[in-house]
Symmetry: T
Subunit: 69 residues, 12 copies
Amino acid sequence: MSDHTYKKIELVGSSQTSIEAAIENAIAAANKSLDHLDWFEVQETRGNIINGKVDHYQVTLKVGFRLNP
Amino acid sequence: MSDHTYKKIELVGSSQTSIEAAIENAIAAANKSLDHLDWFEVQETRGNIINGKVDHYQVTLKVGFRLNP
Amino acid sequence: MSDHTYKKIELVGSSQTSIEAAIENAIAAANKSLDHLDWFEVQETRGNIINGKVDHYQVTLKVGFRLNP
Amino acid sequence: MSDHTYKKIELVGSSQTSIEAAIENAIAAANKSLDHLDWFEVQETRGNIINGKVDHYQVTLKVGFRLNP
Amino acid sequence: MSDHTYKKIELVGSSQTSIEAAIENAIAAANKSLDHLDWFEVQETRGNIINGKVDHYQVTLKVGFRLNP
Amino acid sequence: MSDHTYKKIELVGSSQTSIEAAIENAIAAANKSLDHLDWFEVQETRGNIINGKVDHYQVTLKVGFRLNP
Amino acid sequence: MSDHTYKKIELVGSSQTSIEAAIENAIAAANKSLDHLDWFEVQETRGNIINGKVDHYQVTLKVGFRLNP
Amino acid sequence: MSDHTYKKIELVGSSQTSIEAAIENAIAAANKSLDHLDWFEVQETRGNIINGKVDHYQVTLKVGFRLNP
Amino acid sequence: MSDHTYKKIELVGSSQTSIEAAIENAIAAANKSLDHLDWFEVQETRGNIINGKVDHYQVTLKVGFRLNP
Amino acid sequence: MSDHTYKKIELVGSSQTSIEAAIENAIAAANKSLDHLDWFEVQETRGNIINGKVDHYQVTLKVGFRLNP
Amino acid sequence: MSDHTYKKIELVGSSQTSIEAAIENAIAAANKSLDHLDWFEVQETRGNIINGKVDHYQVTLKVGFRLNP
Amino acid sequence: MSDHTYKKIELVGSSQTSIEAAIENAIAAANKSLDHLDWFEVQETRGNIINGKVDHYQVTLKVGFRLNP
């Protein structure tokens, strides 16, 4: 890691399928505009309910990426 | 959301299959006696172990629903 | 539970597949050297990212086991 | 307080006006079906935004009431 | 635990004698109207003071019980 | 919410008048450069004191907005 | 701030009117016996209920003040 | 509670006997120099061990008292 | 304490009698295999319920001990 | 520790040099008016920035001292 | 502070030397692209270990800066 | 990290010199009996005071290491 500096941003990804897919969706969205995505940390898992079933998982995560030198 | 009031209850769902299935089981149980289930928030994920393998996932979640006007 | 005493240790399991698999991997590793594994509690879910995709899920969990009498 | 037992429920009140009004709305809704409401504790303050302005304050609170003897 | 669902409610028990008695009082009150009480978790211990002595211990606890199938 | 991704940023709004005004000021500032502001979550309420009176309320809040598709 | 040292005390202010008034009341009470009050941090917002309405807001806050050199 | 202001101080009481006795000891010590002690909140329970037995329970608590008008 | 290093382990003690007895039981169990037990910190107090009464108190605590030089 | 009671106060020390110096400065200030200072616990580390460099470290700490018997 | 709004970002600075140097490195990196850096708050201190020694301190901090009017 | 499992232990290191030295001392002690030490996370920073000065810094940290395959 030498003396790099990293930035962490907070995202909420969603998916109708699974917690893992909601995480992947958030990372894919971040990857469109940011380089060097390095790690993520799940902050919160929630979701909305329609007709007594989970409609979407919503996962809040922090994503860390290296700042360009 | 106009001026509705919501109530949140705390449930523990369990499943031998996955975290998502434990969430769905808890919501299905709540849906039997409550209308207007609207969202959930995962509070804790744990489980019991038998013979060195996960036997059941146990997910504590809060479920929010609109109070009848 | 009568008057047993339990010990809890903290592990980080990893998996390229899912959060559940990372949990199972940590428990399987603990099971090699410990008897009476009884329950687990997820502490943190994170992972590393390679090329804009999750490379590994890393789940920190506490594992409780009964101390030999 | 002698040896009374109290129960705490969790509500989310909303208001377009103020945080205090959201609290009052939640308590008024609880008061319709419960006696002996005694105190409240704010858990979280949030809200939704429309056109760059707060549309509703949403206040999560716990409300304590004495159980009937 | 198979696929049961559990509900957790939050109570405040009080006692002039001890923390344990305050817990027992809350559970006894819950037992009047609920079946299948299964476990409790202490959330907070406090009390009121009269003339420089503890007058009542007040213990906030969550009580978990199995929902009827 | 389909499969949208949201980003949350952290702001500190201030006001000499009220907590609500500090929240509105922070959201108005965010609205100048961001579209699709959707919700806020209060993180901390504090303020500075001059001559024994509140001079400014300072409210730290997270603001969530939808990322452009 | 050079090398000053500050002390923080914890107060609970109350008001029948608003959260802001409860904060002001606590600061005014502290100002009677302390100089150099500099900032406050809200710790908890709660209140008591009479006849299904908020009777008093009770706000716990920390107040920081500079120690005399 | 009308518009009173309260102050909370943090104490650590100790006892060789029980958690309750450690709480009582801290309150008794506070009562020597303060009037109007009104309530306490347990923050932490710990203790030291000598020869494999608890030697002293050490209970950190906050004690609230009304400020003189 | 000079430059000693300490290790903390996490245990769950249980007792049918009291919270203090559950703490003592956990420490006694640790004392069988570890020297220099020095202090404990209570992390969580819970228990199981049978027939509407506490059957066992279960206290999670950390126990600190000095590493052999 | 026999049956002594301790009090904890909260201070913010500052230093242009280091975190340790900010701690020492707060303790030195407390030592001017209090006897029997016994231990400290760091609560928060922050600081202000001038021209892109740390100008002062500000360390919030609790300081415990024995009450006179 | 009049009615300014501030933004807080989260960074991870690293250094082989000290915690303070890791903080300074993160602030220096932020200062390259942002004006009006005003304060920082340490969130977490960790690091990696090579051959039984600290190789890098990694300090997560929030940095606050004034938004341009 | 492929599918490795890691274990985290909790240590308290002490030093008369600095926070960094207390961390290094704890890691050096762990390194005597454990291989593959990989990272640490500071949990708490405290210390004891003698004659109004810091006598020892005491840093609680978690140390992670890879379990042997």
